[in-house]
């Protein structure tokens, strides 16, 4: 996973409440067995017209926002399906940070696994950032993960909260599985204990034909 330390880029405004992952990445393209190259289907329904041409009204089709690295969203961002294709497609497009007043749990989790930083900020703060993001070429913001700050286009700094474990993993680009494997002895001793207490749960699926 790519590290996340600092990020400077254009922030695109996307004021849609309850923006679900079906909208971010439509179900019909879930048939891919890859996790790269998914940007072509990002926001498909709102980004393109029925004939396949770009919808000029959609923010990511407008000049400065084509290269946006940050999205400013609304409440309950990323709700619905657990599909990790949503953050994969955002990442493939170049988005490394999403700022919103609130996120759906699974999407929030999935972002961290892919080096995307989701930042939850109070609604009033998000409203101000949304106004900043509407400034086109001037909608440039910087994120500094170490100090947990967002620098607005006018230079003002906004602090944000984040749990320390997730921050540590993002800053160092750590692979969760590797971290967990280091606890193998703990897992094995848990399994030994659980097998005594709940023996019927072990060997559970073995009867099915492999």
């Amino acid at each position: 996973m790519e590290k996340f330390t600092q990020l400077t880029g254009v922030a695109a405004p996307l004021p849609i409440v309850n923006l679900d992952t079906d909208k971010i990445f439509p179900a019909i393209y879930l048939k891919t067995i890859k996790r790269t190259g998914l940007a072509q289907w990002l926001f498909q329904e709102i980004r393109f017209r029925p004939d396949g041409s770009e919808n000029p009204d959609f923010v990511l089709n407008q000049a400065p926002y084509r290269h946006a690295k940050i999205l400013i969203g609304a409440d309950n961002f990323g709700c619905g399906s657990s599909r990790e294709h949503a953050p994969w497609a955002l990442l493939d497009f170049g988005i490394r940070c999403v700022i919103a007043p609130s996120f759906a749990d699974i999407f929030y989790n999935n972002c961290f696994k892919n080096g995307i930083l989701p930042i939850a900020v109070p609604k009033e703060v998000c409203d101000e950032l949304m106004e900043d993001a509407k400034k086109g070429a001037n909608a440039v913001m910087s994120i500094d993960l170490e100090s947990q700050t967002i620098s607005r286009p006018d230079g003002e700094k906004v602090h944000f909260e984040l749990d320390a474990f997730r921050k540590h993993c993002l800053l160092n680009g750590l692979d969760d599985i590797g971290l967990t494997e280091a606890k193998n002895a703990d897992i094995s001793s848990y399994e030994g204990k659980a097998q005594l207490e709940r023996p019927w749960q072990f060997g559970l699926t073995q009867k099915a034909s492999a």
């Binding site: 079906d22 909208k23 879930l30 969760d176 494997e181 099915a208």
Partner: protein, 471 residues
Amino acid sequence: MPKPRTLFDKIWDAHVIAPQGEGTYLIYIDLHLIHEVTTPQAFEGLKLAGRGVRRPDKTIAVADHNIPTTNRAAGVAGIDEPDSLLQVQTLERNVKEFGVPYFPITSLDQGIVHVIGPEQGLSQPGMTIVCGDSHTATHGAMGALAFGIGTSEVEHVLATQTLIQAPAKNMLIKVEGGLGTGVSPKDVILAIIAKIGTAGGTGHVFEYAGSTFRDMSMEGRMTVCNMSIEAGARAGLVAPDDKTFAYMMGRPYAPKGAAWEQALAFWRTLPSDPGSTYDKEAHLSAADIAPHVTWGTNPEMAAPVTGRVPDPAQIDDPLRRAAVERALQYMQLSPNTRLEDVPVQRVFIGSCTNSRIEDLRAAAAIAQGRKVADGVTALVVPGSGHVKHQAEEEGLDRIFLEAGFEWRDAGCSMCMSMNNDKAMNGERVATTSNRNFEGRQGKNAKSHLMGPAMAAAAAVTGKLSDVRQLG
């Protein structure tokens, strides 16, 4: 005296392996359900890192999303869309390579992942259950902590049988009283979501309690738990009781003999202690719940079928108003239209929400002796091979076929347009599935969520209808 613990607290505490620092924990997973859509990249990741599957004996695979619901006897060769075929073949190759048990698509055991878990007795009280699918909360009806995860987490569970998680908060959803005639568990959950909103449960695990759920069948509880995610909750739980144990008993993968007795003693310790407290609560009275339908593009946009399409002009919050305007534009509905005047062209009875035998019985009771209205295409898609078989034993297939419904093989079907079943040319659909998002059931498809009897009523009348009027 120790602090009273909720059902969620007890399951959580029993699964913590080690603290991970800063409020996160490494927790153990008892059962991992996998399907073809959210696993190819996870297995690819394992291969690249040279890792194996730690506990194939706690993992079960099935293909459900991509497969056609006709001509099942043809097996994998019957999948005509190349991408779907590739995804199912990839799953079959991976389960073989990694030694993961699998229900082949020609087997009676095959079905929608959230239908077969409880049906086979794999999903058991007190377990932690995960699946790369947001409707995993369905298994919470068994009294298990069951939640959806992304593909990176699927890979993590395959490799380590654990997850790194922060504990959720507890939210009590209490509904008291008996359901009125024609009111189904689907209406209960739609009413709950309409009340608390699609983000009402974010960060929380629901515990559904009160006499309405105590009196509800296991299948009804599954319908309710299934849609917990539509209110933003991580999971939804119902305390295991005698109904749960009676349901479990004798199922293929349920414990037997002495193991059954030992399991039962454990399961009886799970319900929340008296005096447990919750971070949040919502209370509803069953008497106030009418048959519901959705009118918009997320599940909170629901109303009693006797109601009308709302008027965005009455909404103060500008973002909410914009969302309702956008939804009505997509749904091609004008404000204040009577819901019962909205015509439908397609009906779908199925999905992990409403494809179990009781759902099919409820729909068949309305279909019996009636005909699907002109211009309406109606599909009935059982949730598993066993549900289909049982329905046929009971003659439900004949009732549906005589009424002009199509009778299909088990799978996700029209719930999500990944297979051949989808709404065409922006058709309006009465559907028993769980999501009415834009484009989910086909390009420009306009989905109205409702219970199975209500969907059957829509099929025979050709419009959204109050099932209570059909008797």
